[in-house]
Amino acid sequence: MLYSRRMTRAARLQLLSLYENIELVERVLSEMCHSERVGEETCYWVGMAVREALANAIKHGNKLSAEKRVLVEVRLDPGEALEIVVEDEGDGFDPEGVADPTAPANLMRSSGRGVFYMRQFMDEVHFSPAERGGTRLRLRKNLTARRSE
């Protein structure tokens, strides 16, 4: 019997704490999604969540330090899940301390929506301490339960 098995694809990047690198990661993610025929909608919203993860790591974690790196791992299991891990070298982060940006008192605040974005667009968002002392963020999108396709 003939059959084909789609292989897991993975990428690992170690990046300087520069906003320009957000575009680089999004290109890597987009290329992986397109090559494995992940839907455009899913790719777009995962890309938005990854943007937020990287922005937080670069700005709030590493505080734009030239000495600190951001580690990114992307793993795509076709038909199963897209998983992204982002690690910074900052002082750690408590996600419980983030206020609800949709509460009336916070609606007009000019910041504080990054974690909210990630939780809206991904199926799992998990923060933990990184081995190197910063924050490890794991994002997962189930490819069997697409958001809006």
Binding site: Y19, E20, I22, Y44, M48, R51, E52, A55, K59, P101, T102, L107, M108, R109, S110, S111, G112, R113, G114, F116, Y117, Q120, S148
Partner: protein
């Protein structure tokens, strides 16, 4: 992000293109609004037809610009949102804050009301 500037009567229209995201687009949006207010415009229409992405920093900047203009007695309105940008305004519940139009003519008329 790039912006083309048009003035129709006392309304400044900014035709935006690209991404309003951290590190570039968010700062450029703020600069464009500051330039417009500095030039005496308090009626500002942001044309989102060419905007593909707006991250949380861009949304924050949009809220900041709206607040700045409102405090000066002015109005900032949005035109031609794509479906994805509309979705983002819905999930952030900011769709209840901004005046949004699909027609430039209607948007311009609303400033006179």
């Amino acid at each position: 992000m790039k912006a083309k500037v048009r003035d129709v009567g006392n309304v400044r229209i900014l035709d935006l293109e690209g991404k309003i995201t951290i590190g570039s687009g968010d700062v450029e949006l703020r600069q464009q609004i500051e330039d417009s207010v500095g030039a005496g415009f308090t009626s500002i229409l942001l044309n989102f037809k060419g905007i593909s992405h707006i991250d949380s920093s861009g949304i924050g900047e949009l809220v900041g610009c709206y607040t700045t203009i409102s405090r000066r007695g002015g109005k900032m309105k949005l035109l031609n949102l794509t479906q994805k940008i509309t979705d983002i305004l819905h999930v952030t519940q900011l769709i209840t804050v901004f005046d949004v139009y699909d027609s430039e003519q209607d948007a311009l008329a609303s400033f006179k009301a």
